[in-house]
């Protein structure tokens, strides 16, 4: 008897290697004759490079080569997931703190590090754009060279794009209550525990690059483009990343290491320090001005939102982050009139990129705090005001687009019950509840090949990256269910463009839905072939799969190969290029106790509810959702990158940039799901894994407001900030004001 794998807490594929230390991350891989790379930086943000003296480094022991912009092809190859704007190494100027101006290649890590210290970079520190104000100031220097976008009317500004979304007539919408506030969301960094790491080696007449990427096929395409090679001559090997969270989604130093491998003719390895990783990726910071109109009964009459999102020096995927999140800037609500204007701004800072939630934590911080403000003013309960406005299942809350695909009120009621909404509160405590909705994957394609072996076991080939979310396990469960074999008989091969078929990427919580369907589709292909074989062999109906295989293949043996795919095509007239396949809806609720003497917030209880359609592996859903909530507590309570006047990151590294530890956990934490089998993925599933952090900040902040009476609209809610606001509200001066 085979245990049904769908809906079971099947143990993580690859789990044993992870608890024994056998799991091989990039830094654990050794190649013969491997060289070591150290990047060369200067200690400021925006600077003009006057000259680079590499002579001492070139002569140092163990050095094989020193490379600067002058040693790379001219014109300098530029790349990026959307805009090809990022040079392989800084050319003429550095545009952010930590942008590499050179790379030393040496026989040992120590030799590379020592030689990097010998390089003299004469430079002139230039005024930089380090804030939203500076990016909008016409007197500020331009971050991007205008000739990189010669046909863009905004080429002489620091605005990459200004996006407009909306419907209805905001200017004539009637409202009894209008709340008008400004919200800030800081720069935060991914802080995957595995610092980013890369290896490249010449292979035949091409190159192989090892990178812990979420996106092996985009990496392959971009490396091929930079090196001028056919895609088939670039092999990307992507061992499971040691945490990614969006930070390992798009190319950073892969083109550089590929080029160095070809130049030196040997394998090269670049291991970034955690500090260098901080300088490589971050979340897009923003300021959101939200004006929201309500009727006296709490129903929303309009939302009028104008935002500035501060990208870094290169676009990376940030414009897409901004577009996708602001497309749903009004939240999961029924809004008769909406106007959303958002600017994507360049700055002389670390290029911001995808980060779990993809802009949703930023926009929900505003729309949820606005609902609370209206609730406080009108005396309507904060849960009730949400229930009155939430789009009902089937309702097109963005006109003309994918309708609400879940019973979102059910999630809210479940969270409210679990947090004890409406029950008496102890002194000094407060509760908050908030929701968020993310537009999932729009366009995209996933392919899978499933090989059913002669003994009835199966190998699944999938281009998904298992970066901790457990895709390997869930895809095995899908294959086992479809083929009717034990999940222990299924192996999943991932992370090698030479072995697995194309997948768009591992992002947007898309893999269960897209790759899950591709795997199921491949299994259906196999089953159709088996039925055909059984009928040709004259076998009785209901004969087992293994018997069909034995009868068909005999002593010569063989296998049945199934091919599956799931595609969602590009829609040119859609603002996002395609309609969301599903929405990731999440509700968070929190009970806090605030120490008014210190401003310290104690999380007494924290609850998350994820509408996942169907939890294929409930244990994996819980660990993803609770993990996301813990990560969300980081940007809510403690995390923010601090820049100085020269654009330097002042809290670079683990000593000065704190992320949640076991000591920061809520005293109680519960994650729950809503499962109505209403998603487009296998068995009615939807994506999961980002939701838990999307509404953390507004839920906690709302609880702090109930506990203390103060409203805070800037994150993080550090003790200093909370204490200062409490003092101010009590009519006392804060420490510095």
């Amino acid at each position: 008897m085979i245990t049904e794998p769908i809906g079971a807490a099947v143990r993580r594929g690859g789990g044993v290697a992870r608890v024994t230390g056998d799991q091989q991350f990039i830094a654990d891989i050794r190649l013969d004759r491997m060289l070591h790379v150290k990047l060369v930086h200067i200690d400021c943000g925006h600077a003009r490079i006057v000259s680079i003296d590499t002579s001492a480094a070139q002569a140092a022991r163990g050095v094989v080569g020193v490379f600067t912009a002058a040693d790379l092809p001219s014109p300098m190859p530029r790349f990026g997931p959307v805009y090809s704007d990022r040079p392989i190494l800084a050319i003429g100027a550095t545009k952010y703190h930590g942008q590499p101006v050179g790379a030393v290649v040496a026989e040992t890590k120590e030799a590379a590090e020592a030689a990097a210290e010998l390089i003299r970079v004469e430079h002139e520190v230039l005024p930089g754009v380090y804030s939203i104000e500076a990016a909008l100031d016409p007197k500020s220097p331009l971050v991007q060279e205008p000739d990189l976008r010669p046909d863009d009317p905004r080429r002489d500004t620091n605005v990459l794009n200004e996006l407009h979304f909306g419907w209805g007539d905001v200017d004539h919408a009637k409202a009894d209550i209008v709340v008008d506030n400004v919200y800030e969301f800081p720069m935060v960094t991914h802080f995957a525990i595995e610092p980013h790491a890369f290896i490249a080696a010449p292979e035949d007449d091409g190159v192989v690059v090892w990178t812990p990427t979420q996106n092996p096929f985009q990496m392959q395409r971009i490396i091929a483009q930079v090196l001028g090679l056919p895609v088939a001559k670039v092999r990307v090997r992507a061992p499971d990343p040691g945490g990614a969270f969006g930070g390992k989604q798009h190319p950073k130093y892969e083109p550089l290491v590929a080029l160095l491998a070809l130049r030196t003719g040997r394998p090269v390895r670049l291991l970034l320090t955690l500090e260098e990783t901080f300088q490589e990726v971050r979340r897009t910071s923003c300021r959101i001005r939200a004006r929201t109109g309500f009727q006296s009964d709490g129903t929303i009459s309009f939302q009028d939102i104008e935002s500035d999102f501060l990208m870094g020096a290169y676009a990376d995927i940030a414009e897409r982050v901004i577009a996708k999140s602001n497309y749903l800037a009004c939240g999961p609500y029924r809004v008769p009139a909406a106007r959303v204007v958002v600017r994507a701004l360049f700055s002389h800072t670390t290029p911001s990129t995808a980060f779990r939630g993809f802009g949703t934590p930023q926009v929900s911080w505003a729309h949820e705090s606005q609902l609370d403000d209206a609730a406080w003013r009108s005396g309507i309960d904060r849960v009730e005001i949400r229930l009155r406005n939430l789009a009902r299942k089937g309702e097109p809350f963005v006109p003309g687009d994918t309708p609400a695909d879940g019973d979102w009120a059910e999630s809210v009621r479940k969270a409210a019950d679990a947090i004890g909404w409406g029950t008496p509160l102890a002194k000094g405590r407060g509760r908050g509840l908030a929701v968020a909705v993310k537009a999932s994957a729009t366009t995209g394609a996933s392919y899978s090949i499933v090989r059913l072996h002669w003994d009835g076991s199966a190998t699944v080939l999938a281009g998904t990256s298992d970066m901790g979310q457990g895709a390997r396990t869930v895809l095995a469960q899908v294959a086992a269910h479809e083929l009717g074999i034990p999940v222990e008989w299924v192996s999943v091969v991932m992370g090698d463009t030479a072995a697995v078929p194309f997948d768009l990427q591992t992002s947007a919580s898309r893999s269960t839905v897209f790759m899950g369907q591709a795997v199921a589709d491949a299994c259906h292909d196999i089953k159709a072939q088996l039925e055909q074989m059984a009928s040709e062999l004259g076998l009785e109906a209901g004969v087992s799969l293994v018997e069909v295989l034995r009868a068909r293949f005999g002593e010569v043996r063989g296998e049945v190969i199934g091919v599956g795919s799931k595609r969602s095509e590009h829609l040119a007239d859609h603002p996002l290029g395609g309609a969301p396949s599903f929405y990731e809806f999440s509700c968070s609720a929190s009970e806090v106790e605030v120490d008014e003497g210190t401003g310290d917030i104690l999380l007494v209880r924290h609850v998350t509810v994820a509408d996942v359609g169907k939890a294929l592996n409930p244990q994996h859903v819980a660990m993803q959702d609770e993990g996301a909530a813990v990560m969300g507590l980081g940007h809510t309570l403690m995390e923010h990158i601090v820049l100085d006047d020269a654009g330097r990151i002042r809290n670079l590294g683990a000593l000065d940039y704190r992320i949640p530890t076991t000591k920061d956990l809520p005293l109680e934490m519960h994650s729950m799901t809503v499962e109505n089998a209403d998603g487009p993925g296998p068995y009615g599933s939807k994506g999961a894994g980002e939701g838990g952090l999307m509404a953390t900040a507004p839920a906690v902040a709302s609880a702090v407001t109930e506990a203390t009476g103060v409203v805070i609209r800037d994150l993080p809610l550090t003790p200093e900030r909370v204490w200062t606001e409490i003092q101010r509200s009590r009519g006392k001066d804060g420490p510095t004001s």
Partner: protein, 153 residues
Amino acid sequence: MRIHVTVNGSEHDVETEANMTLLDFLRDGLRLTGTKECCAVGECGACTVLVDGRAVNSCLMLTAESDGGEVTTIEGLAAGGKLSVLQDAFLASGAVQCGFCIPGQVVAAHHLLARNPHPTLDEVKEGLSGNLCRCGGYMQICAAVVAAGRANR
């Protein structure tokens, strides 16, 4: 300088640079790559190993300081290729996500259980507070350690 150190029961008589960290010695010298490097400043716990029964951040310890000592790494915990009760509890509880911090967590938890065989949840939170997990799997990690403690009764 020449040192003598026992690692996971194997004795090593080796020449080491005076400034080589124990982490680099384990990873580069002995190719025991289960011990991970993240912050390199003693904050994240990914490089936790046991030296003479004490849990240490191997990035902050010089190899020379382990002279004459006994080092246990993650590779030394699964005796005879069989998972320990603790390792199995990590898998059963769903404590393992990306896995990069897990060797450090398991070694730190092993050390905690050696001192306090049946810890409470609060004691586990205190004992593992030096081990960062960005996947945020702390609830499951702590539950695994508590469960392993119960199973040891």
